[in-house]
């Protein structure tokens, strides 16, 4: 399989998985690194393009952000907000404890 110049290592996969809140078993780190490197090697063709002085494109529409006026026009729909919650109580979302 093609190797990108800056290939990801098993350690990188671990870090990326952690950042993404995905669990990867230790014995899967290498295979996933190989898998990602196959894709990254292909992506590295981008290095051939002359991008000197080229502005990055962040949107397919060339406009300024439209803005809304400062009116209270939403909210007040707690039922709707909580309706799909795995757990809620007394108007709150209930989630696993976020502090030790």
């Amino acid at each position: 399989m093609a190797q990108p110049k800056n290939g990801v290592t098993a350690q990188d996969v671990k870090k990326i998985a952690k950042l993404s809140r995905l669990h990867v078993e230790d014995d899967r780190l290498e295979p996933i690194a190989d898998d990602l490197n196959g894709i990254l090697a292909w992506i590295e063709q981008l290095g051939e393009v002359d991008v000197e002085g080229v502005e990055p494109m962040t949107s397919a529409v060339d406009m300024a952000a439209p803005m809304r006026s400062d009116n209270v026009s939403d909210g007040g729909k707690r039922e709707a907000v909580l309706q799909n919650a795995p757990k809620s109580d007394d108007g709150f979302f209930v989630v696993p404890r976020s502090v030790e």
């Binding site: 962040t58 952000a65 209270v72």
Partner: protein, 501 residues
């Protein structure tokens, strides 16, 4: 790398057995924009509402929901930028800051990273020490101001093993004002926050209420040998009072010095301030530091401000605290101290100017300043009441001052009247009428009282003719006889005449 050329005043150095240290401080202040609705949704921003009642589907991060920018918030950021004497960026952009947390429904915070709406600026602060001594003015550089979303609130005490999440605050607009590391003492840091608070309140861009958390500070602290190489800094998150800011800095600086003197190294980390124990503790270390993966939010387009929009905001700016202070000194002849106290906060300054100018107007500025600062602020402070809720309005206080200036009552009687006004018993005139406090200005009546006093104290009167210092005794007698209501000036004049002084 931050460059921090200024060396602290020697009085701010921390001297230990190994020598002198100075503290390097930079602040990131989060000021909640005083908007009705959120930065990217139409939900309300009221404080203290029932949980999740001010949450839209956008705020809750529901699938397919999209942000739309609140123009008012953009305007407030620009206004604040002017207040910080800073560069307004006509082009700015919103980026996503990616991290997971239970009070961050989208899994990212929309913030401004590469292109903030406001660039570099500078403000002047006046540090004041614990004894009220005013130090030399210090210029503090502003690195930037950017807009971002606030997070929701996690409640940990409703269940032992779960967290309750309220998203009411989620998405409320914040201005993050980042200073340069230009402060060198806890007093400078709190003076800086006080100054920022004064600026945003003068502009009306933020309520500045630290108790409600709509102004809060992250404090970056490091220490170094005076003028030496910069040390490693720690960031103390979410410190929410002036006193805590000073405490946290003092504690943190001492902690750094202790570690360094013991031959240790400072870990760059994020810390929390425990206001009960008065100490800071580790929140997360550098190893756990997030990789936020900022990138331009593809749901939003760049903010491109028209110069005319910016110019209009500039032309509509209210008077800033520094300018107002200078005007109070030059136009009203107030001493620096009075002018500074009165203009540090817009509400105070407005109140004072109403006292001078309401009703008939033209009241003596110095007398008005004394009554406002000493009597009213003193009474409010004692009662723990905010000026906004003062039982004595500026108009009413002006009415009381009028009665002093037109000799209806003496200053001494006025203090009693004020107390009754403060207790809600009515206006100055009502109380003066009701209690019959009007000064006696009838010359005939005063003369009769003077004659009585001289007649009853003939021996003293003889002595007084030789020794004018005894005049006060007779003034006292007459005032006593009039129950304090005789006009002191008239009493004096008549006594002098009768005693041939």
């Amino acid at each position: 790398m931050f460059i921090a050329p200024r060396i602290a005043d020697k009085k701010d150095w921390i001297t230990t057995e190994t020598g002198d240290w100075e503290i390097i401080i930079g602040l990131e202040v989060h000021a909640q924009v005083a908007s009705e609705s959120k930065l990217f949704s139409g939900s309300a921003t009221d404080y203290g509402s029932a949980p999740n009642t001010q949450v839209s589907l956008v705020d809750a991060g529901m699938p397919g929901m999209l942000p739309v920018v609140n123009e008012f918030c953009i305007e407030q950021a620009v206004k604040t930028g002017f207040g910080l004497n800073a560069k307004i960026n006509l082009f700015s952009r919103f980026d996503r800051k990616n991290y997971f947390y239970v009070d961050l429904p989208q899994g990212y915070q929309i913030s401004q990273f590469e292109h903030p709406i406001v660039g570099e600026g500078e403000i002047e602060i006046l540090p004041i020490d614990g004894d009220g001594n005013v130090g030399e003015p210090v210029n503090v550089g502003i690195e930037r101001l950017h807009l971002e979303q606030d997070a929701g609130k996690s409640v940990h005490d409703l269940s032992p093993d779960e967290t309750y999440v309220d998203l009411n605050r989620c998405g409320v607009a914040l201005m993050e004002i980042v200073s340069k590391p230009d402060m060198r003492s806890p007093e400078e840091a709190s003076a800086y926050v006080e100054k920022l608070r004064g600026i945003v309140r003068a502009l009306g861009t933020c309520d500045g209420d630290m108790e409600k958390g709509n102004l809060r500070a992250d404090v970056n602290v490091s220490v170094r040998r005076p003028g030496g190489e910069l040390g490693t800094r720690c960031e103390i998150k979410n410190v929410n009072s002036m006193r805590f800011i000073r405490q946290a800095i003092n504690y943190e600086a001492r902690r750094h010095i202790d570690i360094l003197e013991a031959g240790g190294e400072i870990d760059q980390e994020t810390r929390l301030f425990d206001s009960v124990k008065g100490e800071t503790r580790t929140m997360r270390s550098k190893e756990d530091a997030h990789d936020y993966r900022y990138f331009p939010d593809p749901d939003l387009l760049p903010i491109k401000l028209e110069q005319a929009f910016v110019d209009r905001i500039k032309s509509e700016l209210p008077e800033m605290p520094d300018v107002r202070k200078a005007r109070f000194m030059s136009d009203y002849g107030l001493p620096e101290y009075d002018a500074r106290i009165l203009t540090a906060d817009k509400v105070k300054a407005d109140f004072y100017e109403t006292v001078i100018s309401s009703g008939v107007g033209g009241r003596d500025p110095k007398i008005a300043s004394n009554w406002t600062m000493v009597e009213l602020f003193g009474a409010l402070n004692k009662a723990g009441v905010e000026l906004e809720d003062s039982p004595v309005s500026a108009d009413a206080l002006g009415g009381l001052i009028d009665r002093i200036l037109d000799d209806t009552i003496s200053g001494k009687i006025a203090k009693g009247v004020f107390e009754k006004m403060f207790a809600g018993e009515g206006t100055a005139d009502e109380i003066i009428d009701r209690d019959g406090l009007k000064q006696v200005t009838d010359m005939g009546a005063i003369e009769a009282m003077v004659d009585d006093a001289i007649a009853n104290n003939a021996a003293q009167a003889e002595k007084a003719k030789e020794n004018p210092k005894l005049l006060g005794f007779f003034v006292g007698q007459v005032m006593k006889a009039s129950q304090g209501k005789a006009n002191p000036k008239a009493v004096n004049e008549i006594l002098r005449k009768k005693l041939g002084l």
